[in-house]
Symmetry: C2
Subunit: 250 residues, 2 copies
DNA sequence: ACCCCTTGTCAATGGTCTTGACTAAGCATC
DNA sequence: GATGCTTAGTCAAGACCATTGACAAGGGGT
């Protein structure tokens, strides 16, 4: 704990150079991870750093500016150790799973930054890896561009959506999950016959299943549409086997 | 304009029953549409209604409660006139496009409510329509459940993501769009060779193109995986033609 | 030794949501 | 018709929040 006077302010002035941008980003991320979106305010950040709440303005222009730095940190974390595989299918699946892992590890931070663009090196690198995979798949020019945007926006928004849900208050999340286990289980067969038919199966679905299923659908579509199938043995022989392959690769 | 005293407060007390929940939801939606997320605060809502800012607590438990009511209003608007077609492919595509239209018409409201669940009739109805289409496609039990979640979560998160972006400050949005037209256009060929290769095509991609492409990929995956192809002539004969069909149907 | 620039501090502004007490309007009952 | 109860609208206050401008202290360079 830091020495404080009676009014809660710091007792002694911090030595110069104690605070760095990197450190502020790290502490913000920690606060977001531990206390959620609500635990991330400038007063709280200042207290956690043992500094005055306004000290951070010496390192960032605004809270939004800090947010972009956090976003880039997340992308860096996601990219750490990423190596494009020879097989473009594996590369895309790898990028998608990596981003999801990072976002699920930092849901609050992800929910605030998923729909932003940083244009910093880490992001540019990820973009280039994805486009590289699509070029290897034989997409060219305008089609390559739109397919890139389709894939990237899909992965970002889906995982960002998961993160947004996970960063809601725990009670709200529980109420939501209960909906599937409760409300839908006792649904009126006359009013909602289709829902009633699969009511027992609905609560069983896990988030991982959902993600892998959507990813499988998208990758299946890409495989079918790609001018050039990927060279590796698993995907080249039977395109229809991609769903199974994806499930096995987990 | 409402009569106000010098201090800005209302001059006369509103007659009883002037405010209704429905009316508050409508006015909130109008504020969100016109002034974005930042224009939607309780003081501003009170001013717009010509009432005291705290009057709304007589109709909603909290601002979050009001948000859920707004979410359901959006779903109602989306469902208005929805008729499940015989062809399950058309039904799913229709639902997806309708949700997107509604979200793009109310981006600020959508960005706040896309990842919430209301469990009210409008939502239940939409769920039942989607599940109905998937059952007609031949999916059953656990597979039907996971495919439903995959499709629904995909549409919600993707369109919610678009809405989130559209509800950012205009300057931030512009900076983002400029990235594709500017930063990526002058990217270093040595560092990001793949991006460089399609740099001129990247800024040309429109949001509509992106959405229809992802939707085409997902629907293609579903068509390939569905036990029972849809009966209608367009999709039954040649499954691979789905992308073209989707594009033509716009 | 001097100055300056940077960095941390502080006080103040104007905004947010929410709460509890107050008031008056309409309704049912007598 | 008068009485009292419930309830919708009002008001003041509290506890937060981001941001700004002035102030002070300390280190590096001249």
């Amino acid at each position: 704990m830091v020495d404080r006077r009676a009014d809660g302010r710091r007792a002694r002035r911090l030595p110069r150079g104690t605070l760095t941008a990197e450190q502020i980003v790290s502490e913000s991320l920690r606060l977001l991870d531990e206390h959620g979106v609500g635990g991330f305010s400038l007063p709280k950040l200042g207290r956690a750093l043992g500094a005055d709440p306004t000290a951070f303005y010496r390192h960032f222009a605004s809270k939004d500016d800090l947010l972009l730095a956090i976003a880039d940190r997340l992308i860096e974390e996601q990219l750490d150790g990423l190596q494009p595989s020879e097989c473009w299918v594996d590369t895309l699946v790898d990028v998608a799973r990596r981003l999801r892992e990072t976002y699920l590890a930092h849901p609050a931070a992800a929910s605030l930054s998923a729909f932003r663009t940083t244009r910093r090196p880490a992001e540019m690198h990820a973009v280039d890896v994805i486009i590289g995979a699509l070029l290897r798949a034989g997409f060219e020019g305008a089609e390559a561009a739109v397919v890139y945007r389709a894939f990237a926006d899909f992965v970002l928004s889906f995982t960002g959506g998961e993160a947004s849900f996970l960063s809601l208050e725990p009670e709200v999340q529980d109420a939501d999950r209960m909906a599937w286990a409760g409300a839908y289980l006792t649904v009126d067969p006359a009013q909602y016959p289709n829902t009633w038919q699969i009511r027992t199966a609905l609560p069983q679905v896990s988030d991982d299943d959902i993600f892998e299923t959507v990813l499988g659908l998208v990758m299946g579509g890409l495989l079918r549409r790609a001018p050039r199938p990927c060279g590796c043995s698993r995907h080249a022989t039977d395109r229809a086997a991609v769903d199974v392959t994806l499930a096995a690769g987990r």
